[in-house]
Point group: C2
Chain length 361, copies 2
DNA sequence: CGAAACACCGTAAACGTTTACAGATCCTTG
DNA sequence: CAAGGATCTGTAAACGTTTACGGTGTTTCG
């Protein structure tokens, strides 16, 4: 781990100047003889380019940051898994920032862009505050935001459409004949919570169903909380025949509680989750879930960023990724054999990339 | 996004030399008056230190790489989630390398250490080949390997103990009265596959049970493959009363097939998975699973690396993390109420960190 | 009051590259 | 054979920091 060889070491050994070495290493036109000597010296010394010095001169680090609250969250993970290969293919390294649920950390991360250790950044903010907007406007490197940002913010923006997503789910439940469709939401002071609450209301209105406050329960986006919320709901109203859950975890909690209460899913109560995580396919009964296209949003964000890194300045772009309803056993009354079994296996196919090797010993 | 201010800009504005600016910014002893002027100038200009230039001079990037096959794999993800905060707390950024299942990529990543864009690396190799060992010996920065590496390799090493893990599971099944315990393994030319196969054999021997080739089925570490393997197994032998699966996904596939075949779990067949992923708690029935301590291995690896980065040279260390059997409904014959329900909720607690916010709109 | 001690600061070199520019070498051609 | 051009190469500056060293100005003390 001593001092690695530098361009200067090579120059001495090959008996040429450092400029020539650099030219050879960069494939610039050079006499054949010189190329040979330099290559030989580099080879013998086991030379590797110093990325730091290179970056200093070229003002390019070939690194991109991805910042979100927590890698463990399946939605962020899905994005990450798409972002990574896109960046890698373009020759960029990925710097990961897990900011936790702390908004101040997100601001910090944006600020750190000034350190120029990355060429650009993809960020999924928890909330978009005034401070965010200021930092985004002043950012020293291109940023792509996944999530909604007001018109006029000078960054590329990739959005989901949870309104339409909720609509898809509610329509589906309605089409199955359900009329007492409850909403189990997360906190309404979060962006997703608020959006999903509003969308639920809208969807009911469009279908001509009444909005009944009794049918709305607020918990948090976790399994245990979801379970508690559903328990409270069942205590209050007895004729619920469908649960629209703001999240797959909430839906899993719902399944726990329904099972304990002796209700059959989907015969007595149909359940829909949201985000279409791996858990949805793994649960029993498998969970109908609204996919908000996390993976695709990740891919699109990466592409937008690369585009900007390569093309330079242009108008900020906004891309909205459409949601998709993935129907599984928790809503389809009697899954036809064709649908039930292949689903189990089909799901495995979807997951296969996530499971190479399966562990380490 | 123009040219950011540098130390020179500040020096001019404050009417001092760049050396003074640097001293002030680094908190070295300086006259109060100068400190004031420099701070004021830096403030007005919105100066941020250039990390690249800094690294070039200091030979420290404050970045650490984590390299594994695929972030989507729950085992690696669990490691990542522990590694990240440890590094962050110590002031290091995390560079993520997803190498895919390609061994050559791992070698590449090790080679790229010579570029000095990171101060060190944590790696989880798929396989440890001769090429790996050579690169590890010649690595230009400290490396911690998660997985087993031969004696004498000059790197810190964090190991799981899948032998003991399998033993725990088989003992558990045996204690429950099961005697026809089958193994559903992944490919035996992978490290985990081989280790688990051998451990199964050993465990049976210790219990005085015969090793019956009929009871071993090889598939792959995916859900669909696992299902197929179990189907084949059931076709061949009819009296299987327990399945030791080399992986949670295989176990999920097993549940699919058993359910389709009308076998009750755990009454007719008990099922044990391995890795104790989030899926284990989410499935129905919830899955008894052997935890190989991925999270802890990640944390330990990060700590070892930091230690080496800060302390410098010392003998390579080897740490083995003990496995743990997490008992759930897929093996406990009649989960007492106390055990069944809290499990569902307890599981949510375990997962809570992975689900802040639950999605983005 | 002069010298020694001290506090502070600026100059310049260094980290390892890339690259503009000009000098050296070679070949071509009249 | 000389001049011109084409080709290749070396010198040096630059990227933005940190830091060793020596210089200046102030204080302290004999």
């Amino acid at each position: 781990m001593a001092q690695g060889p530098t361009i200067t070491t090579i120059a001495e050994r090959a008996g040429v100047s450092i400029a020539s070495v650099s030219r050879v290493l960069n494939g610039l036109p050079t006499r054949q003889e010189t190329v040979r000597k330099v290559m030989a010296a580099a080879e013998e010394l086991g030379y590797v380019r110093n990325a730091v010095a290179r970056s200093l001169k070229s003002r390019r680090t070939h690194q991109v940051a991805f910042a979100m609250a927590d890698v463990g969250n399946p939605a962020y993970l899905a994005m990450l898994r798409e972002i990574q290969p896109v960046l890698k293919a373009a020759g960029y390294r990925l710097v990961l920032h897990s900011t936790g649920a702390v908004v101040a950390d997100e601001i910090d991360v944006l600020h750190s862009l000034g350190e120029r250790y990355v060429d650009g950044m993809i960020m999924v903010p928890l909330r978009v505050t005034e401070a965010h907007l200021q930092m985004l406007a002043a950012a020293r490197a291109p940023v792509v935001v996944i999530g909604s940002v007001p018109e006029g913010t000078p960054v590329d923006n990739v959005r989901a459409d949870s309104r339409t997503g909720v609509r898809l789910a509610v329509d589906h439940l309605h089409a199955l004949g359900r009329r007492r469709i409850a909403l189990v939401n997360g906190p309404t002071d979060t962006v997703p919570g608020a959006a999903r609450g509003a969308a639920y209301r809208e969807a009911l209105a469009e279908l001509g169903l009444p909005y009944d406050e009794e049918l709305v329960e607020i918990g948090d986006f976790y399994r245990a909380e979801g379970g508690r919320a559903v328990a409270a709901l069942l205590n209050r109203v007895s004729d619920v025949d469908a649960l629209m859950c703001a999240n797959d975890l909430i839906a899993l909690g719902a399944l726990d509680v329904l099972r304990a209460a002796g209700k059959r899913v989907p015969e007595d109560v149909a359940v829909v989750g949201m985000d279409d995580t791996d858990l949805a396919a793994a649960s029993w009964p498998s969970l109908t879930s609204v996919s908000l296209g996390s993976a695709e949003r990740g891919r699109v964000a990466a592409e937008l960023l690369l585009d900007r890194l390569q093309q330079g300045e242009h108008e900020p772009r906004v891309v909205t990724v459409p949601p998709r309803l993935v129907v599984r056993a928790s809503t389809t009354p009697e899954p036809p054999a064709v649908r039930g079994v292949p689903e189990a296996f089909g799901a495995a196919g979807r997951q296969s990339r996530s499971t190479e090797g399966g562990g380490t010993s």
